[in-house]
């Protein structure tokens, strides 16, 4: 048993309190917004709401779900997540497998890999991309939200490094037994990498759900906005006026409406967060597994 000095006990006590407070500080803003979204306008106006609803009501939620634009935007988001994640994962797997090969085995591998890395660290910028999407007639279509980011290069690099950590003999023996590259990839490598693929799928879901800027620039008609873009336009701009006019009381009832919308936008992430947490630590470490 290790001896614990009084000073160390004091430190440990403070340490627990400090960590607990910091942890709560990360969480409480969410709790506050959640509590407000379920509180009456009067109780919000009198500043009674902290971390628990006062005069519980679901009125804000009833109202925002009457807004058909919100439901449409949710529909767009669901579509983009389903198709976008499928495209992301397919291309990630297809790119990671050949690029994980040794240079001697697959000539051109290094050139391809640097092509990806260069595209990750340098870009032509916002306006040239906008012009390309525009010229391809993708504006106002779901594909404008999916194709420009079809290859998540960072995920490719993570999976590539994971594939390399698998014993080479497994793939080689399958190959000698007559399985081609396609079969080796989908029958051997993919099943062996399920934890890594699950992690990257979660990253991809979060990425697609949270993306808002592409919706704003590639959709001329707000009807086509995914939820994050829609929320960006309803939550943020109104508040700019709120900052300028301190006495604007009408806005206060607006507050719980915005809160409810924030919660609706955050909910899917919160729902998959337990899974995310189980996997993402592995995901981060994944990239550092190198021979």
């Amino acid at each position: 048993m290790e001896y614990t000095s009084p000073l160390r006990k004091l430190f440990l006590g403070f340490n627990y309190i400090f960590l607990l407070l910091t942890g709560l500080l990360c969480l409480l803003p969410f709790v506050h917004v959640l509590a407000q979204s379920f509180s009456s306008a009067v109780s919000i106006a009198s500043r009674e709401v902290t971390f628990w609803p006062v005069e519980f009501t679901t009125a804000s939620y009833n109202l925002i779900f009457q807004e058909s634009k919100l439901l449409t935007a949710m529909g767009v988001s669901v579509q983009r997540v389903l198709i976008g994640v499928a495209v992301n994962m397919l291309l990630t797997v297809l790119l990671a497998y050949p690029l994980a090969k040794e240079d001697q085995r697959f000539r051109g591998r290094t050139v391809y890999a640097w092509m990806l890395i260069f595209a990750m660290i340098f870009s032509g910028g916002l306006i040239p991309l906008y012009l390309v999407v525009n010229n391809l007639q993708l504006m106002d279509t779901l594909w404008a939200l999916i194709l420009p980011g079809a290859v998540p290069i960072y995920n490719v690099v993570l999976l590539l490094n994971f594939f390399r950590s698998l014993p080479k003999e497994i793939g080689e023996s399958a190959f000698i037994d007559g399985a081609g590259h396609w079969r080796t990839l989908f029958r051997i490598y993919v099943p062996l990498s399920m934890p890594a693929i699950a992690t990257l799928t979660l990253f991809s879901i979060v990425g697609h759900w949270n993306s808002w800027f592409d919706g704003i620039i590639f959709m001329n008609d707000p009807v086509n906005y995914p939820l994050s873009s829609y929320l960006q336009t309803v939550i943020i701009p109104i508040d700019i006026t709120a900052i300028n006019s301190i006495e604007d009381l009408g806005l206060i009832s607006d507050r719980s409406l915005k809160d409810a919308q924030i919660i609706v936008g955050a909910l899917p992430i919160l729902a998959i967060y337990p899974f995310l947490q189980r996997f993402f630590v592995k995901g981060i470490i994944l990239g550092s597994v190198k021979e």
């Binding site: 960590l19 000539r107 032509g124 012009l131 590259h181 994050s228 943020i236 900052i243």
Partner: protein
């Protein structure tokens, strides 16, 4: 001949690469050709080819505008502060968390501090405007109990940068901490045992075993972060700023957006964006080169 043989043998591998690479070419490399418009006076009606060639005009205009120096300064100050403070906070937090022996407590704290990382700045921006509001925001209510007058956090040039930096650390410190926790878990327990036999208390152990154990990863993180010195966080600034705080909060990326897509000065905005991308590219190349040379870091 051997080249050709290798190619034919591997044609399914090439096919796999190109199914994805085609998207990278179309949406990354084709736009790179589009940077030519920064040397033109691009007009959508005239199109890409017929727009007038103006050489370096857009760049010299950029260097003449006081706005440009303002946004560069803002970018460097905001990104620099985020990088330095955001470098130390996760280390300290990881070290403190490493002292905790109650696993459930450690896990709970981790669950809380990772959460903001997964939220977009649209959501976090909404939450921040709510809690920082002068009109009944909880932070100002709290300050009110101590007799402090409401502060216009998002409408004041004195407060806007601190808000950006603190909220960025709030979002990312937990997640940045993970690499350190992994490094801490990887320290050989025999080193601690040896230190105990030599009479080292916990503080000395931290100083002579724990810290040296994470110094390599600290150096690596610091080096790689150099490439981000021009990235002050578009998403965050865009979702929090307003014309009042342009003076301290407008950064290169938001400036490019407003000039380009809102004021339709396509060529000028592309010139500004290109200048930033080039400097970033050089910095990143140097950072990776250093990391490769001294830490044997490889991307793939």
């Amino acid at each position: 001949m051997r080249e050709l043989r290798n190619f034919l043998l591997n044609k399914s591998l090439h096919l796999m690469v190109w199914i994805g690479m085609i998207f990278v070419v179309v949406f990354s490399y084709v736009p790179m050709l589009g940077i030519i418009i920064s040397f033109k006076q691009y007009r959508p009606v005239l199109g890409f080819m017929k727009s007038k060639w103006v050489g370096w005009d857009n760049f010299s205009l950029m260097l003449k505008l006081p706005d440009f120096y303002q946004v560069v300064t803002n970018t460097l100050v905001i990104a620099g502060l985020k990088l330095t403070i955001g470098f130390f906070v996760p280390i300290v937090f990881a070290l403190l968390l490493n002292e905790v022996r109650l696993m459930w407590f450690k896990k709970t704290v981790q669950t809380f501090v990772y959460l903001p990382h997964f939220m977009s700045w649209v959501i976090l921006g909404g939450i921040l405007t709510n809690i920082l509001s002068v009109n009944g925001g909880i932070v100002n209510n709290l300050l009110g109990w101590f007799g402090i007058d409401p502060i216009m956090f998002l409408g004041s040039n004195a407060w806007f940068r601190p808000v950006l930096i603190v909220s960025d650390i709030w979002k990312e410190f937990g997640f940045s901490m993970i690499v350190y926790l992994a490094a801490l878990a990887g320290i050989n327990p025999a080193l601690y045992e040896a230190a105990v036999i030599d009479g080292a208390n916990r503080w000395k152990q931290t100083l002579y075993v724990t810290l040296p154990g994470i110094v390599p990863i600290m150096a690596l993180v610091a080096t790689l972060s150099l490439g981000g010195i021009l990235n002050a966080g578009f998403d965050q600034v865009f979702n929090l700023y307003n014309p009042i705080v342009y003076e301290t909060g407008d950064i290169i990326d938001t400036y490019v957006y407003r000039m380009g897509l809102q004021q339709t000065q396509y060529s000028f905005a592309t010139a500004v964006g290109l200048s930033k991308s080039l400097v970033s590219l050089i910095l990143m190349a140097i950072a990776y080169r250093l990391a490769y040379k001294y830490a044997n870091y490889r991307i793939f």
